[in-house]
Subunit: 388 residues, 2 copies
């Protein structure tokens, strides 16, 4: 087919931080921070996690390791430039030396932004794009507490530029933390509606990473494992909050993060970034709305990958691409239903007249570069309209 | 069953170096060494690779990046303590600052040993065991040129103690290199007999890592991918040396290395270390001889893992463990036949009267700790006798 796009990357690279995973391991944050040379730790989290008691656990762990700390919780969903800039001032004022981020993508991306400014100075928008960070960051430990994001292993930080009302994406190997530490116990206090939406973020990371033109065998194994875990546990985790299924989703988030950090993403995220910037909408929900339409758009360019994708989503095929495509679509639909996430842009409060501007911004997003099927502004607008 | 051993590790960690993989990428060694702060590079390789022209390519890449270098090729299979100690003296005499190891497990483990002594001083045997290295090593880039080993990603170095006539295993996160760079083109000059034997090393890494009690979802995905690649390409790579199949084996070695470095190994390697130490035998060949007998011993303790293992080895099962066991054994037998590796300890020149001493040493080897089925000296001796 004419629209089939060849894999443009015959070479691959794979880089992930040190990973620690297990129930109860939040008690190890102190020894991790100490091992990285910390004496005074800058702990970044949010008020929800404080109320749930997890911030206390981390503070106790820091004290147990003989460390002092300063606590910063001025972080909101879709973290804002000024929150990060304020945090960096606090970091410097407290003369801290290691940063610990505890939370979902917002708290962790804020921690990354603070780390960038702490050693590089300037405004966060100065670092937008690929490889624009010159000075090494302070050591960073990130502890995810949702079923999505992957920020704890990724080379990305996404911060809201409140002046331009858009998300700015910072990509650099130095924004990957030194240590990613997941304690799946933290998911037990995650409000129900966030289980499905953050797992949908991990689902879109895994699907886009697998279909990316920069995918490799190193990223594929992680993307497929993430899909299998999500397929197995999404429904039960959302309905019953069982520890096993929540742990599977935490594991899926980690695998999906390892995949997309190295193979990058595609149209779902290229579109989700401007939408999140303009509307302060929940990132997982935006992905949920876009995922099926983007998959339909990508299908003709990814036929050879569909049998493995279908396998990842819990089906067995004999390699017939038509049926694999149907299986993938059906399975995706089932997972999105189970997630409880919204299913239309309209329901997220997006205004129809904004769609052309969103398509225009998405065309400039770094994530568009690795889409398996090329997309012009018109194509992106058509996807948005179908998802509306 | 009574002999079923529970997975003792509910927590997991996963740590791999930066990985770069692709044909022709040996030309990037210079920029990697430069990025690590190098000005004068200590290049460790062997005479076979020099003759094949790969050492020249690396030298050219270093020069192209404006780097000076010293070259050290006093490395033999099963690298010896004195080779490493001599290399460290040369490193210091040349005032080098980054080490590049190019070769199979021997050249890479020698490079690791030199790095340990360069910054820590002493004799290599002082560092035997787990976490006995105190000072950080010089930056290290490792470039594998065989289908096995995994030393380029692992936290292990294995050096022959020529006085005690045994292999000493050094395990520490700091012996993992900074960068693992694989150029699968280098396999095209690998002598035919080494394709099968080094791929058998990767095969045993993948199988032991998957069955290890310290295995996790992070290591499993890599172990299974390694097995699939080996199952697909072993026979053709050995017979036809086709670039695609050789590349698959290089990729398998990488995946298997990522797996075993984090989940550790089992009885095959616990036995292979003393045999390699006493007889200077080819490591892949020793594994080939032991693998089937150790699998038979392990089977009753790993029943629940067999369906996935059989899948990794190219079969589909309905989850019935008896048939999965048969499939795994049959598939392993086919792969070992295809590898062309020897199939008995006797044919490797091992003396029957040495078996009790070898079993005794194996019981002390660090690899025995993660075996899925406990083994006493008697059990190890029985395995050796069956493999004789």
């Amino acid at each position: 087919m004419m629209i089939k796009q060849q894999n443009a990357f015959s070479h691959c690279k794979f880089e992930v931080p040190e990973i620690i995973f297990g129930r109860g391991l939040l008690s190890q944050v102190g020894s991790c921070a100490r091992r990285l040379g910390g004496k005074k730790i800058f702990l970044v989290s949010d008020q929800g996690l404080f109320k749930a008691g997890w911030v206390d656990q981390v503070m106790q762990s820091l004290l147990d390791s003989g460390l002092r700390f300063a606590y910063y919780d001025q972080v909101t969903p879709n973290p804002k430039d000024w929150e990060v800039e304020q945090g960096a001032k606090e970091y410097i004022r407290h003369e801290a030396d290691v940063i610990v981020g505890l939370g979902g993508g917002s708290a962790m991306d804020a921690a990354k932004g603070i780390a960038i400014l702490a050693s590089n100075g300037g405004r966060i928008r100065d670092f937008e794009g690929s490889n624009n960070i010159n000075r090494p960051l302070p050591p960073l430990v990130l502890c995810p507490t949702t079923c999505g994001t992957g920020s704890d292993v990724s080379q990305f930080a996404v911060i809201n530029d409140t002046q331009r009302r858009c998300k700015l994406t910072i990509m650099s190997r130095c924004v990957a933390p030194d240590i990613s530490l997941t304690d799946p116990n933290t998911l037990q206090t995650l409000p129900g509606e966030y289980i499905g939406t953050t797992a949908t973020d991990a689902l879109s990371h895994a699907m886009e990473a697998f279909l990316s033109v920069a995918a490799s065998s190193l990223t594929d194994v992680n993307a497929i494992r993430a899909l299998r875990l999500i397929s197995k546990s999404m429904e039960k985790a959302v309905k019953e909050h069982s520890p096993e299924d929540l742990e599977n989703l935490a594991r899926a988030s980690l695998h999906a993060g390892m995949a997309f950090s190295n193979s990058l993403l595609g149209i779902v995220h290229a579109l989700a970034h401007p939408i999140g910037g303009l509307y302060d909408a929940n990132h997982g929900s935006v992905n949920a709305v876009l995922l099926q339409e983007v998959l339909s758009y990508d299908l003709p360019a990814v036929e050879d990958k569909l049998p493995e994708l279908a396998f990842g989503m819990g089906y067995r095929t004999g390699g017939d691409t038509t049926s694999a495509a149907e299986m993938v679509q059906e399975s995706l639909n089932r997972l999105l239903d189970a997630s409880g996430a919204p299913r239309s842009l309209r329901s997220l409060g997006v205004a129809e007249e904004d769609l052309p501007a969103l398509a225009k911004q998405a065309k400039q997003d770094i994530c568009i570069l690795t889409s398996p099927r090329q997309a012009e502004e018109d194509d992106l607008l058509a996807i948005l309209k179908r998802a509306y």
